[in-house]
Symmetry: C2
DNA sequence: GAACGCATGTAAATCGTTACATGATTCA
DNA sequence: TGAATCATGTAACGATTTACATGCGTTC
């Protein structure tokens, strides 16, 4: 069972959000706005675009505009919009939570129901994380004398708890 | 230029911290204490252990103890300790910062100079991140009317700023 | 019109995961 | 003794990165 792919969905998300885009445009947006969370090289992007055209997820935009250059512009197809919708609606799990920011990035409309759905699932997941991490800290460092001999471990565990707790608070503040 | 490897250093870190360990022991510690930050499959671990024995970074521990099972125990060698030391001392950059938690995990002693060194570099890096993210937010959403049409983007950018700011505060609290 | 830049494209090498395999130990 | 379990080991595939390649357009 191959690892689930990310790139095709980001491509769909960008095209759905921005309309017509070239590969170059996508690379540019990846770098400026998405590199904080995810990166991709152009040697992955271009073959993927071809594959997605074959799959009818996207199509080449016959722009009357700028065809001076060898730029290829793409637009999303109906099938692609459904694929994107299904991806956004997938349940959030420990395994795929690293993609949640990317999913949110693809949602332009503040009132989209899927947005609240994602935030709520994310909240539940990270609340569990906090519980788990706190239990782990209590187990390992409940006796504070254990901190001395494993200070680095203690540090990152403490930090993880703070980080997750902050995230939980933020998520709650964004949920209706 | 191949991507820098992580696994060998974690192996060295664990052996340096715990003394004698088998592959199974490492897998176990990966799962319980490190899975929050990093994962590895056993099919990666075992060949890597063999490679590191060949390189004299570690060696098989001739335990008189439990040799009933086919368990193979390892200990770190002097060369491995130097390799580990060099890794911990590498400058922290945007590229390798995702490994910082793993590095901290390998440092048992609260008073180790390398600990403060890492925390300070990490602080500088994330302070820069905050500056960059805030500038980006000002540029994109300084005009609040822009939020409506790109709400997801606004959300994750805002969250990133809070997350990084919290991290900066935490780092400062841990620095002498 | 020759050289360079740039969007796109291709190849090779590496990394990492899943699935499967081995051989020893335990236990019924 | 034979089945099951377990630590270790191997194979195959997909994903990702680096390096290199193509070919159009601009510019000097």
């Amino acid at each position: 069972m191959p690892r689930p792919r990310v790139l095709p969905y980001i491509i769909l998300g960008l095209l759905n959000k921005n309309g017509t885009m070239s590969g170059k445009d996508m690379i540019s947006e990846f770098k400026t706005d998405i590199s904080e969370f995810w990166t991709v090289s152009h040697s992955q992007l271009y073959p993927e675009l071809q594959r997605m055209v074959d799959e009818k997820q996207i199509k080449v935009a016959e722009d009357v505009e700028v065809k001076d250059r060898k730029v290829i512009n793409y637009v999303i197809e109906a099938k692609g919009q459904e694929t994107l919708k299904r991806w956004l609606a997938e349940p959030i799990t420990l395994k795929n939570d690293e993609l949640t920011s990317l999913k949110l990035y693809c949602i332009s409309d503040q009132r989209a129901p899927i947005l609240q759905q994602i935030l709520k699932q994310c909240l539940a997941l990270h609340q569990q994380k906090v519980v788990h991490l706190k239990a782990r800290k209590e187990l390992l460092f409940g006796d504070e004398s254990a901190i001395k001999g494993n200070y680095g471990h203690y540090l990152i565990l403490s930090r993880a708890i703070e980080r997750e707790s902050d995230y939980v608070n933020w998520l709650q503040s964004k949920i209706n």
